[in-house]
């Protein structure tokens, strides 16, 4: 028998054995934890180090373990900040530059599961959280070695002396030396063990929101030094859960922290046992990059909640009433609708010689865009036409004047085009639309915009780009129109209004449009010094009206997200801001077991 025949027979044997082995394992499955809350996440967690992670999903998952000075109250809308590791709101100096913050007593860093050497004490508990931990944690954000995106977002240029610390750490890095954390930062002072003082470079009423960001959580210096590079996968915080295990793009398992004080805004030992958070001893987050398989698994009862994907939306939701269809509701599913605190838009570069000088052209383009048709055809109805660029959920969302150019009016658009051509001295030349071409959906959106603008005689050349190049071109202001969006960083309209402040229009600044209106700037500078209230709301509304009239963008849509959860999951919500929300959710374990056994789910 020659070797080809032998090989063929061996192959058949191995194939048969492997097939039998695989078939034999089919009836067996790893045991599911009956007490766990099963959830999912769709974006990879870049790091479990709060200084390095930056996106919303990482913040939500990390927020179960880490805590900062402040957080947002769970399930409260509009969002409300509450003290967590601080015991009260900051005391501000008269000039608004100095924040004095009292720190909660008796909160300890949690024991790290499976690691005896980190905190070698009788109960494995870490040291008590003190003001020095916050000084250290904020300095870490400014350590150039970590390249923290949160530094530029929250602290750079805002805290006295912290930029100098960043420069010193960059110099140490260049010289191959470790960062010297003993270098003092004038604006970060531990007055005593339980009092932190922060000195700002200029008044900033929104700074409280920075302090509520999960990136500004307290990290344990001993844990950072003990774990070294692997600290990014070994979180040690003070929150309701500890990280039991983590594998990138696969699974995160959180277990209830025995040392947690029971409530985010309570002192240790003050919460009665039956009211203590978290409710579930374990939370298991599975990674699903694709939504369709997760939707199948959710329908099999394997997950307790998820965001309803586009593929399941039309079958599960009655689009006229925006409620679950009866066959889904009868299987114990519930629908939660959340409007994103974000807006998608087509931004104009006002430095462009064609677009910048031609307000009627921009207004015509706004009027030629049929948002309702777009939302119906391309988003399966999962969006809403913006009233203005402040999305719902903010104090002035309903007070802001309705944008007069946010509705489809092709007749008026064509009439404005005549004016636009006069200003331009002839027909409008083709304009280039820059967008992130990595997603085929964005290409469809760009083509829809192209067709809409063709109706008024504006030729749009679409320019798909990588995301990195898109950001680079926008930062350099090297574009004409860009399809992009803006997500609120905190629950204050200022997060949107800053997009039009001329002093943030330099390359890299958030005013990508190059919008420059001295009247707007004057109102902005007045408003940012005011506390929330009717006076500030009036100023904000005036600013919105000014920007609407000048049309620096075609306001596109506001995304509406639909979340489905099981009836056995109590207190379910998906807040826009805030951390540790799974700690508040409670699974009726018996009801889940019964539903899964009966097959009615």
């Amino acid at each position: 028998m020659l070797w080809t025949k032998r090989l063929f027979l061996v192959y058949l044997g191995v194939f048969g054995l492997l097939s039998m082995a695989a078939l034999a394992t089919l009836p067996f499955a790893p045991a599911r934890d009956p007490n766990a809350l099963y959830a999912s996440y769709a974006i990879n967690l870049r790091s479990l180090d709060p200084a390095v992670s930056y996106d919303v999903i990482s913040g939500v998952i990390l927020g179960h373990t880490y805590e900062g000075l402040y957080d947002y109250a769970y399930g409260v809308r509009p969002a409300k900040v509450i003290p967590t590791l601080a015991t009260a709101f900051p005391t501000l100096s008269d000039d608004g530059l100095t924040y004095t913050i009292p720190i909660r007593h008796g909160v300890h860093f949690q024991a790290a599961p499976g690691e005896d050497q980190l905190f070698p004490g009788p109960n494995g508990l870490g040291p008590e959280v003190t003001a020095d931990d916050f000084v250290y944690s904020y300095k870490r954000l400014a350590d150039s070695r970590l390249a923290s995106p949160s530094f530029s977002a929250f602290l750079q240029g805002k805290v006295v002396g912290l930029d100098a610390f960043f420069d010193a750490s960059a110099a140490s890095q260049k010289a191959g030396k470790p960062t010297d954390y003993s270098l003092p930062v004038q604006g970060l002072v531990a007055l005593d063990r339980y009092t932190l003082q922060i000195h700002l470079t200029q008044p900033n009423p929104q700074f409280i929101f920075s302090l509520a960001s999960p990136s500004l959580s307290a990290v344990c210096r001993r844990a950072v030094e003990f774990y070294g590079d692997s600290f990014r996968a070994r979180p040690v915080g003070t929150g309701p859960y500890c990280f039991k295990s983590y594998r990138a793009d696969y699974r995160v398992v959180l277990t209830a922290s025995p040392s947690y004080r029971g409530r985010p805004d309570a002192d240790p030992g003050t919460v009665p046992a039956d009211q203590r958070l978290p409710y579930q001893p374990t939370v298991i987050y599975d990674y699903f990059a694709e939504t369709l398989p997760l939707w199948h698994a959710f329908q099999q009862g394997l997950y307790d909640s998820m965001e309803l994907p586009k593929e399941g939306f039309l079958s599960a939701v009655d689009t006229t009433t925006r409620s679950l269809r009866p066959d889904y509701a009868s299987r114990g599913m519930r629908l939660t609708t959340i409007t994103d605190p974000a807006i998608d838009y087509y931004g104009f570069n006002l430095r462009d010689p064609v677009l910048g000088k031609n307000k009627p052209l921009r207004q015509a383009m706004c009027l030629a865009w049929d948002r309702e048709a777009f939302i119906r055809k391309y988003l399966a109805g999962r969006g809403m036409t913006p009233r203005g660029f402040i999305p719902p959920g903010f104090p002035i969302s309903d007070l802001q004047p309705e944008n007069p150019f946010n509705h489809y009016d092709i007749v008026r658009a064509k009439s404005l085009m005549k004016e636009a051509e006069l200003i331009n001295g002839g027909p409008i030349p083709p304009l280039k639309l820059l967008f992130d071409g990595s997603d085929s959906a964005y290409r469809q959106y760009a083509e829809a915009f192209q067709s809409a603008m063709a109706q008024i005689g504006v030729k749009i050349n679409i320019d798909p780009s990588t995301y990195a190049r898109l950001l680079e071109l926008v930062d350099a202001r090297n574009f004409q129109i860009c399809m992009t969006g803006w997500q609120a960083d905190y629950p204050d309209e200022q997060t949107f209004l800053q997009m039009f402040y001329s002093k943030l229009a330099d390359p890299g600044g958030v005013n990508m449009f190059g919008y420059n209106n001295p009247e707007f700037d004057a109102l902005y500078e007045r408003a940012i010094k005011l506390s929330p209230g009717p006076d500030r709301n009036d100023l904000y509304c005036k600013m919105v009206a000014m920007a609407d009239e000048d049309c620096p963008m075609v306001e596109d849509y506001i995304r509406v997200r639909y979340y489905v959860s099981r009836s056995w999951l109590a207190n379910y919500d998906f807040p826009d801001y805030g951390n540790a929300h799974r700690a508040f959710q409670k699974v009726d374990v018996a009801a889940r077991k019964q539903a899964l056994q009966s097959g009615h789910h």
Binding site: L2, T4, K5, F8, Y11, L12, F15, L18, A21, A22, L23, T25, L26, F28, A29, P30, R46, S47, D49, V52, Y54, S144, R145, L146, A147, P149, S150, S152, A153, Q156, F166, D167, A170, Q173, A248, D249, Y250, D286, Y287, F288, A289, E290, L292, P293, H296, A297, Q300, S438, S465, T466, Y467, A468, R469, L471, E472, D475, D489, G508, G509, V510
Partner: protein, 314 residues
């Protein structure tokens, strides 16, 4: 043989250098600033530079007068790749963690698929113009016409959601991984079955009419041995060409398949890296796969001599 190998190795060096240069230029010229996607909303030049430093890209691209070898280009030559900012890890760490998972899917899928393709092509050729040939051809054309992603989603719905025979998606470590491997492997096999079987059928049909088979039959060799012993060996040259070049790429996994089935392997990693501009993953994968392809071509040449002694390397 030795002279041939040395000559081929020497020829491979400029090819690989070309790959290094093209990869480097592609990523540096059209890729955009690799730090920007990871810099958040309000980046400053300093924060962008800090990210570049973390990635190991804060050094000159080609020429460094003080330390000539300390350039981005020479880092690439020495397989010192940029740090992945999306995972805050080095590419080698990611490869070590995810490569074995990808192989758990890709290796069985590859070998099952190869065996089935060869087996079906032999049956098809042996029954040329009869119903088994027509049936196999029809199935192959159907599978060829079906986009792999549609096939994956259909199989996921039928096998996982509807019949409940397999997990819809996901992963567990050994021994449960066998359970999670089944459906993705079946999908991968089906996705490659059509093209492979059609190709090997053509190869086998080229051999069917040869004199040596008629002689074998005349000598009383059984029909099974005619195909498995005589024909198969002579048909192996194109098989070697197609399989050996694919083998090194198996570690990269099945790009879309891994994403659809939530397999934490390199395929899904690469898809995510492409969509998220993770320079520290896309660049090494492009670079390493090109180099492995070059080296596997060299291995193919050597294997020819083993499979068919008539081929001499000169």
């Amino acid at each position: 043989m030795a002279a041939y190998l040395i000559r081929r190795l020497l020829l491979t060096i400029p090819t690989i250098m070309g790959i290094v240069l093209i990869t480097f230029l592609l990523f540096n010229v059209i890729g955009g600033d690799p730090a920007r996607p990871f810099a958040g909303k309000n980046p400053t030049p300093e924060s962008l530079h800090a990210i570049l430093a973390k990635m190991g890209l804060d050094k000159p691209r080609f020429i460094n007068t003080t330390e000539p070898l300390n350039t981005q280009f020479f880092d690439l030559v020495r397989f010192k790749f940029p740090h992945s900012m999306r995972y805050d890890a080095s590419f080698w760490e990611l490869l070590a963690e995810r490569g074995p998972v990808s192989l758990t899917i890709a290796l069985p899928a590859f070998f099952i698929s190869l065996g089935l393709q060869l087996g079906l092509s032999l049956i098809s050729a042996a029954r040329l113009g009869r119903w088994p040939d027509y049936a196999i051809t029809a199935v192959c054309i159907l599978l060829l016409a079906l986009p792999p992603v549609s096939l994956y989603y259909c199989m996921q719905w039928v096998g996982g959601a509807w019949l409940g025979w397999f997990p819809v998606a996901g992963w567990e470590d050994f021994p449960y991984s066998l359970k999670y491997v089944c459906l993705p492997v079946i999908c991968a096999v089906l996705a490659s079955l059509g093209a492979g079987t059609r190709f090997y059928r053509t190869v086998v049909l080229d051999e069917v009419g040869q004199d040596y088979l008629r002689t074998a039959r005349a000598k009383g060799v059984s029909e099974t041995d005619v195909y498995l012993v005589h024909l198969l060996r002579n048909a192996l040259v194109p098989v070697v060409t197609t399989t050996v070049t694919q083998l090194p790429l198996l570690v990269l996994g099945e790009l879309i398949l891994e994403s659809v089935f939530q397999i934490p392997g390199l395929g899904g990693l690469l898809v995510g890296a492409i969509l998220n501009n993770d320079y520290g993953v896309v660049m090494p994968v492009t670079y390493l796969s090109s180099i492995s392809y070059c080296l596997s071509l060299l291995a193919t040449d050597i294997l020819y001599t083993l499979v068919d002694p008539r081929i001499a390397l000169k």
